[in-house]
């Protein structure tokens, strides 16, 4: 947004607010006590839009929660990363504090060779060169990635720039690994064209879900202009008491499918097709209930 850190923080705050707004899922059960999943009633304008809001809300809920949460983490995880980095620098570099900045250093290629020998199953994704005024004055920091899930987790290797020996292979703790996963969850798990199209449709449905919610709220303050046809339709959808299991069964299935479809591509590109199929299921269900209504 060309607003620098302000714009970045604004986006992060919006993601956080989105997560809070989506906690409205707790209101779902009381509103569904007397109607089955996916029922769209047109007896009243507000009820019509509320039914749409509930259907689309379930279809897009876990997708929107994961995206908002990962966006929030991606933006505000910086201080946690910095604190952890500082702690491991203190732990591993305590013997280097009195050493001068190395003028004679091994080459980048040598640092890469040493790293590859230490971690033959991983590939190198970046090399940070020691800087005289930086925090890593004595080491090359070589970033590496593995295969599948591990492709999203960095395992840096610190190579002593003077001797060419490996000082440390840094293993990230679980909470840093979880924070690191926010980036791929938010940005890069929709590589193939079918996934891009399905993500676009899901995103559009999320927008419609928000708009229908707002519209239904505004309609609340308008007088009911029901007509004979509406009353007839209301009678055609008689209230049927729903158990908790009946209320939550399909939503929970859809939520689980959505969680799978978002996380599966992170395990590798071979999961993209099955993820696209999983992504299509809630959309097909939405289409089915639309046509049925």
């Amino acid at each position: 947004m060309y607003l620098g850190s302000f714009g970045r923080n604004l986006f992060g705050a919006m993601c956080g607010l989105s997560v809070v707004a989506l906690l409205g899922i707790w209101l779902y059960a009381p509103f569904m006590k007397n109607i089955s999943f996916g029922t769209i009633r047109s007896s009243h304008r507000r009820i019509y839009w509320m039914d749409w809001h509930k259907l689309l809300g379930i279809a897009t809920l876990s997708w929107a929660v994961l995206l908002s949460l990962s966006g929030f983490i991606f933006i505000f995880a910086g201080p946690v990363h910095n604190a952890w980095n500082e702690s491991i620098r203190k732990e591993y570099l305590i013997d280097y504090q009195d050493k001068p900045f190395p003028v004679q250093r091994i080459s980048i290629d040598e640092a890469m060779e040493v790293t590859q020998a230490a971690l033959p199953d991983r590939r190198i994704t970046g090399i940070e060169v020691p800087q005289e005024d930086g925090k890593m004055r004595w080491h090359y920091t070589v970033c590496t990635q593995g295969e599948g899930w591990d492709a999203h987790l960095n395992k840096p290797v610190w190579v002593d720039a003077s001797t060419g020996k490996v000082t440390a292979v840094i293993q990230q703790p679980w909470y840093i690994q979880m924070l690191s996963m926010a980036n791929p969850v938010h940005f890069s798990n929709h590589d193939t064209l079918p996934l891009k199209i399905l993500w676009f449709i899901t995103e559009a449905l999320t927008c419609i879900m928000i708009i229908t919610g707002i519209y239904a709220w505004f309609v609340k303050f308008r007088p009911n202009k029901g007509n004979a046809a509406n009353k007839l339709q209301a009678k055609s959808v008689p209230p049927v008491r729903q158990s908790s299991r009946q209320i939550w069964l399909l939503p929970v299935v859809i939520i689980l499918i959505t969680l799978f479809r978002i996380t599966a591509p992170l395990a590798g590109k071979e999961w993209s097709t099955i993820s696209a199929v999983a992504l299509a299921i809630p959309l097909v269900l939405t289409g089915y209930y639309w046509l049925r209504s």
């Binding site: 080459s107 290629d109 890469m112 994704t125 970046g126 060169v129």
Partner: protein
Amino acid sequence: MNAAKLSVGKQAEIVLERYPGYNLRAVYLDHEKHINGFSLRSQDKGYDYIRLDLNTARFIRRSNEQVRYEVIPKFMICLWDAC
């Protein structure tokens, strides 16, 4: 022959020859897109970021948010001759 046959260290050397006065801060390797990024810093000129497309041997330079497309002649020569 393509640019990927040049080692990363050699690529960095050529970039630094092209932009004297800069120090290399970091190199980023994008294996999917075959693009290497070189982060440079100069006390006088500030920060620069050079992206080298290993498929086309083109450099994309981003300096003070301005993007310029360039070709480094020596790098082009290195594509065909050992250097």
